[in-house]
Amino acid sequence: MIDTAVLTEPVKSTPVVVEERVLVRHAQEGDLRAFDELVRRFQERVYATVYHMTANHEDANDLVQEAFLKAYRALKSFKGDSSFFTWVYRIAVNKTINFLKQRKNRSGMSLNDVDFNAEHDPDLVALVSEKTPRRELGLIELQEKLNAGMQKLSDIHRLVVTLHDVQGLSHEEISKIMDCNTGTVRSRLFYARQQLQGYLADYLK
């Protein structure tokens, strides 16, 4: 049984690691409440990555569930060499890449999912209101162009851009998730940005 106080304790720097380990250990012993807490803790970040990779909510929903299910089944093989977050991320990313390899037709991103708070973001306001060709564009059109550019990238390059520029993960974290060194992450990120910049050249002057 997990102490409720542990689960509801405010997030701090060091205790988070301890808490995560405690939760993982309980989950490994068959405590479903502990695993449920782990799912709640990481679902948003895992979903966001999968969603930006697949560009489809339904696909992302299925893949996230599959990823957590696989994580539960493989929980006993988790030795704690990396953080649980990195481990789950890796499972989700591998599943997503395999899924994308099999998927032929890619559907566009649903712009209905854009949160209304985006309209008040200072970066977005600056981008739309500056004296550039994009001044004629609204939020939706700009987002459409960006999403189309993302879909032109290869799966690996889209993943790097998603993890770094959208999710805000560090090069080190990405290297662990993608099982490569940080130099490879940097070069992939540079190439992906270059491709996107070329595609959005008219809007980023």
């Binding site: 490994q28 012993e29 948003e44 299910l69 999912d113 949160d115 959208v166």
Partner: protein, 159 residues
């Protein structure tokens, strides 16, 4: 291709990409997702352990101390059973047990002709036998035609 890795070159692009964080799933999605995942996990739990043996093995796999304790207990019971059976065999080999509670005495052919054991109980009072009935007594077979059986009623009485 240029190999110059200046992060400032992509500042505008990074700002634009950061806006993708605002793309969110339908409202309430993250409240329902853990429930969906846990439902599938529970279904998997039931599906994995299709037999009671697999269920036990899985439990023991998670708790090795319990597995060892269970193993010692079962081994102890087996040894105890083996020991008791050896003792019993030794007692049987030593000689027949007279009046043992679990052995039925075989009829002695010398005292019981035809192998039929004599009855030790008498007839009920008023029971007619060839010894109790005088010669010349008029005997008739019993008639059971007038006997009626009453049918049982299973109607439930209202409370």
């Amino acid at each position: 291709m240029s190999t110059h890795l200046d992060p400032d070159d992509f500042e505008q692009l990074r700002k634009l990409l950061a806006l993708k964080r605002y793309e969110t799933p339908p409202p309430g999605y993250f409240e329902s997702l853990p429930r969906k995942v846990m439902t599938r996990v529970e279904m998997t739990e039931l599906g994995i352990y299709s037999t009671w043996w697999e269920w036990i093995v899985a439990r023991f796999d998670a708790k090795p101390v319990l597995a060892c304790a269970y193993g010692f207990a079962v081994s102890g019971l087996l040894l105890l059973g083996f020991r008791l059976s050896q003792q019993f065999e030794q007692e049987v080999a030593a000689g027949p047990i007279q009046g043992g509670p679990w052995l039925a005495a075989a009829p002695d052919p010398l005292t019981t002709p035809n192998g039929i054991l004599p009855t030790s109980f008498g007839f009920p009072v008023g029971f007619l036998t060839s010894e109790t009935v005088d010669e010349g007594t008029d005997l008739h077979p019993a008639h059971f035609n007038n006997l009626r059986t009453k049918q049982a009623s299973f109607a439930l009485s209202p409370r």
